[in-house]
C-alpha cells in the first residue's frame, strides 16, 4: 500500500490525528482535511486514490462533497465513515458512488481492509481502461 495516497476528511481533529497516526504506521501516505472544501482543494493538487469521508460536517455535507468528488475524479474511491448510522444516508451515498458506508466505531483492521479493497478496485479499473484505450489505436 506504499503507493496509496489516502485522504481523510473529518471535522473532529482528535479523531483525524489519531487515525492518521495509525494509518501512517501501517505504511499509507495519509493526507487530511477538516472539511469538504479543503479536501477538494487537496484533490486539485495531488493524486488521491482513496478518500475516507465523514458524513456530518459543518458547511458542505459529506454527501455534497462525495458528489463533487465523484464528478471530478470518478476513479477515486470514497469510503463514507460516519458516527450517525442512517439507512437513508447510506443508500443516498452508495447510489452516488460511495465505495462503502462504514459506521463508527470501526476497527482499524476493517478500515484498512476496506481501503485496500477500494484501492485495488481503482487500480483494476484504470488497467482495464488502459487496455481498452490501447485496443482502439490503429
Amino acid at each position: 500500500v506504499s503507493d496509496l495516497n489516502l485522504l481523510l476528511v473529518d471535522d473532529e481533529n482528535d479523531f483525524l490525528s489519531a487515525i492518521t497516526e495509525r494509518l501512517v504506521e501501517r505504511g499509507l501516505n495519509v493526507l487530511s482535511a477538516c472539511d469538504g472544501k479543503e479536501a477538494l482543494q487537496i484533490m486539485k493538487r495531488l493524486r488521491i486514490d482513496v478518500v475516507v469521508l465523514d458524513m456530518v460536517m459543518p458547511g458542505q455535507s459529506g454527501l455534497e462533497t462525495l458528489v463533487e468528488m465523484k464528478k471530478d475524479y470518478p476513479e477515486t474511491e470514497v469510503i463514507m465513515l460516519t458516527g450517525f448510522a442512517d439507512i437513508k444516508a447510506a443508500v443516498d451515498s452508495m447510489t452516488r458512488g460511495a465505495f462503502d458506508y462504514l459506521t463508527k466505531p470501526v476497527s482499524m483492521d476493517r478500515l484498512l481492509s476496506r481501503i485496500r479493497d477500494a484501492h485495488k478496485r481503482k487500480t483494476l479499473g484504470l488497467n482495464l481502461k488502459e487496455a481498452k484505450d490501447r485496443r482502439v489505436e490503429p
Partner: protein
Amino acid sequence: MKSLQWLKHLLSRKRRQEENLERLKAEFKIHYHDFKLLLTANNRTLEIMSEIEEALSGGRPFGMNFVRSRCTRVAANVYQIIKYLDEMSPTKYSALFEKFKEIQRQIQPHLDENPGDEEHPLVMPLEEVDRSLVHQVGGKMANLGELKQKLGINTPKGYVVTARSFWLFMRHNSLQTQIEKTIQSMESDEFEYLYGLSEVIQDLIEKAPFPPDLEAAIVKCCEKLESIYGKNVPLAVRSSSPVEDLPGMSLAGQYHTELGVVGEDILKAYKKVVASKYSYQSMIFRLNLGIRDGDVAMCVGIMPMVRSAAGGVIYTKDPVSRGEEHLIIYSVLGLPKLVVEGNAAVDRFAISRNRPLRLLAKDIANKNKKYAISPSGAVLLSEIDDETALKASLDQEKALELAELALSIESHYGSAQDIEWALAPDGSLMILQSRPLTRKTPNEQDMNIKDGPNTEPAVVEGGVTASPGTATGPVFTVFSEKDVFRFPLGAVLVAQQALPLWAVLLNRAAAIVTESGSVAGHLASVARECGTPALFCVDNAVERLAGEKLVTVDADARKIYKGRADMGNRSFVPPISHIQGSPVYQSLKNASELIIPLNLLDPDGAGFTIENCKTNHDITRYCHEKAVKEIFSFGAEHRFSERTSKRLFVDVPMQYWVIDLDDGFSDNASEDDRFVRLENIVSTPMLALWRGMTAIDWSGPPPVDTRGFMSIVFESTTDPAMLSSGPSGYKERNYFMVTKNFLSFQSRIGYHFASVEALLGDESVQDYLSFVFKGGAASIDRRVARARFLGEILEKRGFHTRVVQDSISARLDGSRRRSVEPGLEIVGYLLIHMRQLDMIMNTESSVAEYREKINADIEKIIAG
C-alpha cells in the same frame, strides 16, 4: 513485396491477439475482484444478520444505536452486493436497485423515534395538567396534576417545562446530533465505558446554550412563583419523564432532582436535570429495559420547596406481601429525602386496609438526623436531639388521614401505589408524587431451603426481605463507585449501605445483601422490579461474609448459606429480562422481518426472481447465485485464438490448452509462448482436477456391443453438431482458464460436452465446484442412464446433483469446505473414465461391474 505484406499482416494480427488477451485479463481481474467484494459483502451481511438474531434471542440488552447501526450496515452491504453483480453484467440485474430501495423504505419507519414535535406550550402550570398529557409533561408531573384536578388533593403548585421544550433545547445547535455521534462512536456495553460516555454527554448538555424563547419562558415562570411565594423562594427542580413511573419499571431515583434552587440558578438546574437523562445509571437502565433514547424526553417540574415537619413514603400494599394486606407508612422528621435514599432509621406504621382504618402496628426508630431547608434555601442534614429522635414522626390521626388519602389515590388509579408525602408545619398533608408499586410475593410453600446432603446450617440469619427470591453466587463486597466497574456477573453484592448507586448492578448481581436500608428505598424498589433477591439490615454482613467464596441467599427465609445450597422444590430464578417486548426490541423485531426471512429457496424454481425478493436476505441469496453464474460465464462465453493460449506440455494423448487470466502460472514459467509445462502451473483447482484426470490410467473405451456401435452411427447422421467437419475450431478443444484460485475448464470433444468451474483456496471466497456433463454418442436411453449413474456416484460423494435427460449438473459449495479439492479429483477422474460408458449402459451386470470399479478407484484417489 507480397511476402513483406504477408509478414506485416501476420505481425499486426499477432499484436491484436496479444492486446485482446491483455484486455481479457484486465476484464477478468476486475470481474474477479468484484466477485470477491460481492462475496465479502455477502458474508458480512450474514454475520450482521446473526448478530440481529442473537440480540432477538433476548439474552443481552441493546439500545437503538445497535438497532440502527445493524440495519444500516446490512443496507450498505446489500447495496454493494447488487452493485458488484451489476458491474459483472451491466443492466441485466438493474431491477434489483429499485427492489432494494423499496425494502429499505419499509425498514426506515421502524428506526424512527418519536421526536416529540406535538404543538404544545413550552411551559405549563401544573393545575392545567392531567394524566392525559403524560407524553408532554412526563409521568411525575402528569400524576401530580391528575391528583389535584381529579381528586382535589393538595399537591405542590408550580410549572412543568414540557417535552417540546426538551427537544427544542436538544436540537438547538445540533446538540442531539453531537450526542448521538458520541454514543455511536463509543459502542460498548462495558460499565466503565458507559461511565466515561455519560460524563462526556452530560458535560455537552450542561455547557449547551439555551434557545432564547425557552430561556425566557423558564425565567418567566420563576418570576411568577416569586410573585406568589416571595423573592428568592427556594425551588425544587424535578425530572419528569414520559418513560418513568410506569407499571413494573419506575426507574425510581435514576434521574436528578435539584433542591433549594434560587433565582437565576434555575437555568443551570434545568440543564442538570436534563443532563441526568444521560447519567450512567439511567443509560444502563434504558439499555437493560430496552427503552429507546429518542422516546425519552426529559420534562422538568419547577415548584416551591415544601418545608415539612415530617415526610416519607406510603405503600398502599406491602411491597413484599406476606399474607394479609396492609398499608405501610415509612416516615422521618423533616424532608422525606431520607426515606427514599433508603439508609436512615425510619418510623414504620402498618394500617389496616379495611374500614374503619386502624393502626395495626408502629415501629418508632431512633431518628438522629433530618433534612431541612435552611433560610437561604439550601437543603441541610442536621442532628436531632435524643429526646425528639425517639418520638414518632407522625401521630395516629395523621397516619390514618394519610392512609385514607392513599387509598383514594389507589382507587383512582386502580393499582397499588408508592406515594411520597410531606406534612407541612401547619399540619396539612401534601402529596409530592405517586407511582405504581411493584410488588413481589415470597415463596410461601417452603420458607426454608431443604437441608440436603450438601447443605450446612445457615451462616447468617435475620434481616429484612427487600426483594424476595433465592440465588447463589460468589461474594463480592462493594464499598465505592469504582467497585461497580469490577463487579463480576452473577456475584452476590454485599454492601454496608443500600445506596441507590448499586441499582446499576441489579442486572448483573445474583442477589444483594446489605447491613442497612429500607424496603421503601430506591434500591429495594428497583431490586423488586428487576427480580433480584435482596436482603437488607443484615447485621455485620460485610464482616460475616468476608471469608465466604460462594453463598446461597434466601431472601424469603432471610437466611444465607455456605456454598450452593439445595433449594428443594425451588429453583433459581434468573433476573427478569425486560428487553423482550420492549420498544427497542420491537423496533429490531419489526425491522428484522424485512431483513432476515429467506423466501427464495430454490435457485432452479420458477419463483427465483427479483420480483419475489421480499427481504434483504432474499436479495443476497439471489445475487450470490447469479454472481457465481456470471463469473464462470466469463470462461464459457469468451472465445480465443490458439495464439492467446499455451498448449499444456504433457505426455498424454489429448491436447489441452491453458489461458492464464492472472496468477495461474509460476513466475519462472517459460517465455516460450507456445507451451506451458505442468510444473509451471500454480492454479490450485486446475492441479486438483488434473490429479484426478491422470490418477488412474484409462484402459480405453469399454467393449461395445453391436447395438451400441450402431447407435453412434445413427446419432451422427441426425445431429450435425456432432459431426466434425473441416479443421477443428478452438472451441472444440479442451481448455483451462486459470488463476491461482480460479478454474474454468471446457471440454467439447466429439459427442461429449463437459465443463468444470471451481474456486479453491482463496481465503476471502468460499470454495466452490460446479460440473456439467452432457452428450454422448449412444442412444438417448443409454445417455440418460449414464447421467443417472454419474448422479448416483456424485451424490454419494456429497455433491448436490440434478439430472435432466442426458445432462447432469453437480455442485459442491463452500459450506463443505475442504471437500472441493477431493471433489475436483473425483470429477477429473470421471471426465476421463466416463466418456464412453454410455455404450455399456444396457445390462445391469456391466453397470454393477463398472460401479464397483469406479468406487474403488475414487477411494484410491481420495486416499491420496
